[in-house]
Each structure stands twice: as C-alpha cells, then as structure tokens.
C-alpha cells in the first residue's frame, strides 16, 4: 500500500474497483501466484511430487517393516534337553518381539521370532522333516551338553542366536541351582547392568549415519533445483514463444515478472522440500525411531536456510537461460550450463565428505556452500559463526544474480526470433 497515495486522483474517482497505481508487492504476488497455480494444476509436477513422497514413505517404511517382520520358525524337537532349550528359546524370541532390548548377560540384542515346536520320535524322522522343508531345523539331545542342531543348508540366524542363548541360560541356571543361589542372585547373573559410556572427545553420533543424511539432503537439493530450474526456464520460454510477453512487459516492469517467477517457484520448491522432510520425520517418529528425528531436525535447519539461498541464486540464472532462447526446443542449448552448475555442488557434497581443507574451502564457495556447509554442520566440525558467514556470502551472490538476471532478462525477453548469446543480451539495452 506504499504506492497507493500516489495514485492519480482521477483514476481513483472513476474506478472504484481498480487500483491502477503501481504496486510492486501486489503485482509480484499476482505473478508468483500464477506460477504456483499453474504448477499445482500441472499433472507432471503433481505426479513427481506424489512419487517422491512415496519414495520417502517406502524408504522409511521398508526397513521398519523388514526389522519388524518376525520370522516364523517350526523346529523339530527330540529329547528332554532339546525340549527345555527350545522352550527357553521360544520365550526369549517372544520377549524380543515385544521389546527391542532383550538380552542375556547384557550382551547383544536377541532377534524376535515365533517358534513352534514339533516333537518327533527319532533323529531319522527329524532329518527327513528338515530335508523336505517341513521344519526350519531340528534340535536333538537328552543332555544339554551334547545338544545337536540339524539344518539343511544353514541354521536360520534368528534361530541360531536364540538357541545358543537359551542353551547358555539353561546351563547357567542348572549350575546356579546346583550352587544353591537364590532366584534374585540368578537374575542378577543373567541380566547384569552394563557400564555407562563417557566420551571425552568426539561428538555424539545419532542412529542415522551423517554421510547418509548429507547424501539425502544433497539429492533433495539437486532434484529440486533441477526440476524447478527447468520449470522456471520453460515458463520464461513459454511466454516468449507464445508472444504473450509483449503484453506483459507493456503492463509490468520486467524485473517484477522475474521476481514473481522466482518467488513463486521458490515457494513451491521449499514447500515440496518441507513436505518431504516432514513425511520422512513423521515416518521416523511413527516407526519408533524418534531418536533419529532430533538428529534430522537439527541438520535440516541450516539445510533449509542454505537451500533457500542457493535456490534463489540458481533460479535467477535459470530464468536468464530461458530468456536467451525463443523456443522450448532450443532450451537444451542454454540450460546445459545450468545443469553443470547444479551437478557441481551435488557431486562436491558427495565426494568431499572427509573433513579437510577442500571441504572447508568448498563450504565457503557460494555454489557448493548450500550443500557443504550443512554437511559440515551435520558432521559437527564447525564453529557457530561459520555457517553464518557462508550464508552471507551466498546471500550476496544471490543478490548479485538477481540483479544480473534482471538485466539480462530485461534485454533478452523481447527478443523472440532467435537465440541470443550472453554478450548480446548484456548489450541489448532495451532493444
């Protein structure tokens, strides 16, 4: 409403429904809203967003599903000791299903499993059942010290661990009973309290490997800048190709059009990233890995800041790449440079994972900073001021790219007949 006061009085009086004054914010908003509306009605965009959400959901759900999957095992049993051990193993497997921290002697996590016993009369019968696959394995023996586990190829991992633990438990219990220990003493023996760990140096590592987190962020940035960058360039060329641009520039300053396009697409890109991160975090929380959520949240704060700045920096250049050509078919020729500019930070982030002079330097270079600085934050080897300085550098370059983009866009957007070189665009002032 800043420019409102300067509206011609005549216009005001004659047209109650019209605001003919120049209102940058309003107009840029109208342009941005059109970009968003068009995108939200674009099936390809909706499809790819849904696809990415599905990928994130699967990435979260599949490991949880696999881990949560309890193997169902049928075990043939012959002999009293075998019966006792398999019975104990069944209890341990069932307990492990309920809580993830079942252990014997405080060591290791026991896998969950649902074990069904099938009593058999002879070893020969047990072997036959193992061979024809009716049972996963057979446990045979009357003495716990000469217990035999028979399997076809390999003993299923879960069963092996459970039977070993159960056998140990049974033997220890028997020895303890012989020694005349109380049941409290026996419990203390079976479930000792593990020591507490204190680290003097080094950072607390979350359950998600930081390299994986960095790779995920890098991929999101890469994907987002590439898809939205191409879409900005296409939206510019479409206006040139359909000639509607002359009508637009007669009504609105060219830089407002550019601003609207960049803002609209940035809003959509950030929205898409927040959606994907949100789905991922929600998924992690639902599947009971809340400890990973905090880690991802801590890392994604700076990631979002750098994403925003890096996106704007590249978005303006994409718009220029679009304005240099006249037809969609020619777009490939000018956007190839942009694709390199997008891939560079992506591969830099993936390759420069080791802390060192290269990583530190690249984390200040504005093109690679959007990925490498958050990477260093996640790896935890930065001072508090470092991301701030790096973000400021990106911001400065982004501002320059907006100014540069506006000038090139302004002078090339009306040139609708052929391809322009950068130099021509720079010189064609108003022509």
């Amino acid at each position: 409403m800043i420019a409102g006061r300067q509206a011609p009085a005549r216009a005001r009086a004659a047209e109650p429904g019209a605001r003919h004054d120049l209102h940058a914010r309003g107009t840029v908003g109208v342009v941005a809203r059109r970009e968003i509306t068009v995108k939200l009605h674009d099936r390809a965009f909706l499809g790819s967003t849904v696809f990415m959400v599905v990928v994130v959901v699967l990435a979260v759900a599949i490991p949880a599903f696999i881990q949560g999957q309890t193997p169902r095992l049928t075990v043939a049993v012959r002999g009293s000791a075998a019966q006792q051990v398999v019975g104990a193993a069944t209890t341990l497997g069932a307990d492990a299903q309920k809580s993830s921290s079942t252990s014997v002697f405080g060591v290791g996590r026991l896998p969950g499993a649902a074990i069904t016993t099938l009593p058999v009369e002879s070893t020969a019968e047990a072997e036959r059942l193992v061979r024809d696959g009716t049972v996963s394995a057979a446990v045979i023996g009357d003495d716990v010290r000469t217990l035999q586990v028979i399997a076809a190829g390999a003993v299923p991992d879960a069963l092996g661990s459970l039977v070993e633990a159960a056998s140990a438990q049974v033997q220890v219990s028997a020895a303890a009973a012989d020694a005349g220990l109380t049941s409290a003493q026996l419990r203390a023996m079976l479930n000792p309290t593990p020591p507490t760990t204190v680290l003097l140096e080094g950072t607390a590592r979350g359950p998600v490997p930081p390299e994986l987190l960095v790779a995920v962020f890098a991929f999101l940035f890469y994907l987002s800048v590439l898809t939205f960058g191409v879409s900005i360039a296409q939206s510019v060329v479409e206006e040139k190709q359909s000639r509607v641009v002359e009508l637009l520039v007669a009504a609105v300053p060219v830089r407002w059009l550019l601003a609207g396009k960049v803002i609209g697409n940035t809003a959509l890109a950030v929205g898409q990233i927040v959606l994907l991160l949100g789905v991922g975090i929600l998924g992690a929380a639902v599947t009971g890995r809340g400890d990973a959520v905090g880690q991802v949240l801590a890392g994604s704060g700076w990631f979002l800041v750098f994403f925003l700045l890096g996106f704007v920096l590249l978005a303006c250049l994409w718009a220029v790449a679009g304005s240099l050509v006249s037809r969609i078919e020619e777009l490939q020729a000018t956007t190839i440079v942009m694709q390199v500019l997008v891939m560079l930070p992506f591969f830099a982030a993936l390759l420069a994972t080791a802390p060192g002079i290269v990583q530190t330097t690249l984390s200040y270079v504005p093109l690679t900073a959007p990925l490498l600085m958050p990477e260093r934050v996640i790896l935890g080897d930065v001072a508090a001021w470092e991301p701030v300085v790096s973000a400021t550098l990106v911001l400065v370059l982004a501002t320059l790219s907006v100014a540069l983009g506006a000038r090139l866009y302004e002078s090339s957007v009306l040139h609708t007949s052929s391809r322009l070189t950068l130099r021509q665009a720079w010189r064609r002032e108003g022509a």
């Binding site: 019209a18 209102h23 359909s242």
Partner: protein, 315 residues
C-alpha cells in the same frame, strides 16, 4: 493543453538503420486514428515506443501533455502485432490474470472478463483452455485482453487481421464505442477500405517519417481538385479519311488534353476521361477544351479514396 496522445519528434535507430525519424503526430480523444504504412515503414516500432516496450532514442511521447510513466502506461490497452496469450490457460483465468497485472482487483477483473466475453460472443468458451479455441476466437480473446481494464488509450497493432467479417464488425463497434467514450484510439491496418470507413483521423508513415497526418476527410479533400473526371458527348463529326464513323475522335480529345499546360496525365475509360493536374494548374482549361468537343455531361474533381492517397504518398 493538448489532450490525447502526442508523439513529438520520436526517433529510433536499430544499429545503422534509422527506423523512425522524428515522428510526430497526435491521437485525439474521442477519435479513431488509423495508422497506415507499407511493411517495415515503422508502425510497430512506433506503437511499441508508445507502449514503453521499446525506448525511443530521442523525442517524447505524452498523454494529455504529460510525459508517460509506468503508472499511466498500465492503463493503456494494447494489442501487439505478435499475438499471443498463454496457450494452456483457461480463457477467463487468463483475462483475470492480465487484468490484475493492469491493476484490477480480482472481483472486478472477473466481472469485466465475463462481460467482455459475452459481448464478443465467447460466453460459452470461458472455461475452455485457450489453445483449444480456433485462431479467430483466440484473436477475440486477445481483443478482450486489450479492453479489459477499461483503458485510457488504445493502441492496436493490426487488430483486424485474421478476423472474420462478423468479428471485424464486433471489433469496429468496440473501437467506435471506446472512442465515443472519449478514449484516443490508434490502430494500424493494411485494410484501407476499413480504415476509411472507421477512422476519423489518419496517419500515413513512410520509411520512418510521417508522410501525411490529419483528418481523413480533409486529407482526401486536399488531394481532390488535382484529378478531374470529364465525360463528353461528341457534338460534331471530324472527317478523318478512312474513319467515317469517327471512332478516332476520343483519342484526339485525349491528345489535346495531354497538350494542355499543367496536365500531368490523361486516362480514358469507356468515354470518361481522367485528367491529373500538376500542382497549381487550372482546371478551367480542361473544361474549355472539352466544351469544344461536345456537350460536357460530367465535369468535376475526383475525391481520392484513402487507398489512392496511400498509394500516391507511399510510392
């Protein structure tokens, strides 16, 4: 104070080529001004400079005697030579968007778009995607885009090209209506008969300079009196050997007319003579010569059509 649009010595170069050389003319409020000229004469460049799409190297464009700024330009209605709207947007959405860029609020833009589409016979296509419309109908939408924000000046580059006769009438009606409401209307066209019937004023541009400008009728009258039409019924028989029925007589009159001082050219068409007089020549000599040949049934100045003036000026 000069009202309406004024171009004052507008000059524009493209590299070495002088596209516009001190172009000056006026588009008065309430009048439809036709802008004619051969291809490449500078019509589109002039209109683009008026719309601020191109900058002039020198000279000035004023509206109501004030230099034009962004805010003023935003209220102009424009139909560019190179037509185009968003092919994949719905007709109404498109118009509302353009209306909003011209400063209308959403509700007003929507109401105006609906009203205009009604008036242009596109009411049933308003939710269609533009690309599915015929070219003629797309052109009508383009007309609506130019008129939507109730412009204070209309600049239309070839608004009639590609329109069917029915749409031409609709378009002409719209231009007249806007002009009658006091809006200066400038449009270019190659259809000179249309310009002649529709325009109050005419500007003829040739190779970047204004060759003629002013009221259409006055322009035609000023050029009248230099071309005379004479119809003579022969009174006496010339006895020419070998030509008893006198079929050679009209050529004789033609020869005599040609010999008159101040006569530039003589044409004969089915007994009617067309005499072009040089600047300042006296038409009475033509009449006197004709009278000697017989009864003069018609004698008068031919008021040239706009096409004739155009051809003469542009040649």
């Amino acid at each position: 104070m000069r009202e309406g649009l004024t171009l004052d010595a507008v000059t524009r170069r493209f590299g070495d080529r002088l596209a516009l050389d001190e172009v000056s003319f006026e588009v008065r409020p309430g009048r439809v001004t036709g802008f004619v000229g051969a291809n490449g004469a500078g019509k589109t460049t002039t209109m683009r400079i008026v719309m601020g799409v191109l900058a002039a190297d020198s000279g000035e464009v004023r509206l109501d005697d004030r230099p034009i700024d962004r805010a003023a330009r935003r209220r102009f209605g424009y139909m560019p030579e190179e037509r185009g709207l968003y092919p994949r947007m719905r007709v109404t959405d498109q118009l509302v968007y353009l209306g909003r860029l011209h400063g209308l609020d959403n509700a007003t833009a929507r109401a105006r778009a609906d009203a205009l589409l009604d008036a242009l016979g596109l009411a049933e296509r308003r939710t269609d995607v533009l690309g599915t419309l015929s070219l003629g109908n797309q052109q009508r939408v383009q007309v609506a885009a130019a008129l939507l924000h109730d412009p204070v000046l209309l600049v239309l580059d070839e608004p009639f090209s590609g329109l069917d006769p029915l749409a031409v009438d609709l378009m002409a009606g719209q231009l007249r209506e806007r002009a009658d409401a006091g809006v200066p209307v400038l449009f270019s066209s190659h259809q000179l008969e249309l310009v002649e019937t529709l325009c109050d004023d005419v500007v003829i541009i040739k190779a970047g300079t204004v060759a003629a400008a002013g009221e259409a009728l006055a322009l035609r009258r000023a050029r009248a009196g230099r071309r005379m039409r004479v119809v003579v019924t022969p009174a006496r028989r010339d006895t020419v050997p070998g030509d008893p029925d006198g079929s050679t007589r009209p050529p004789l009159l033609e020869v005599e007319l040609t010999r008159l001082p101040g006569v530039a050219a003589v044409g004969v068409d089915d007994g009617a003579f067309t005499v072009d007089l040089a600047e300042g020549a006296d038409a009475q000599g033509v009449l006197a010569t004709a009278l000697r040949y017989g009864a003069v049934e018609e004698f008068g100045a031919i008021v040239p059509t706009l096409s004739e003036i155009f051809r003469e000026v542009v040649r």
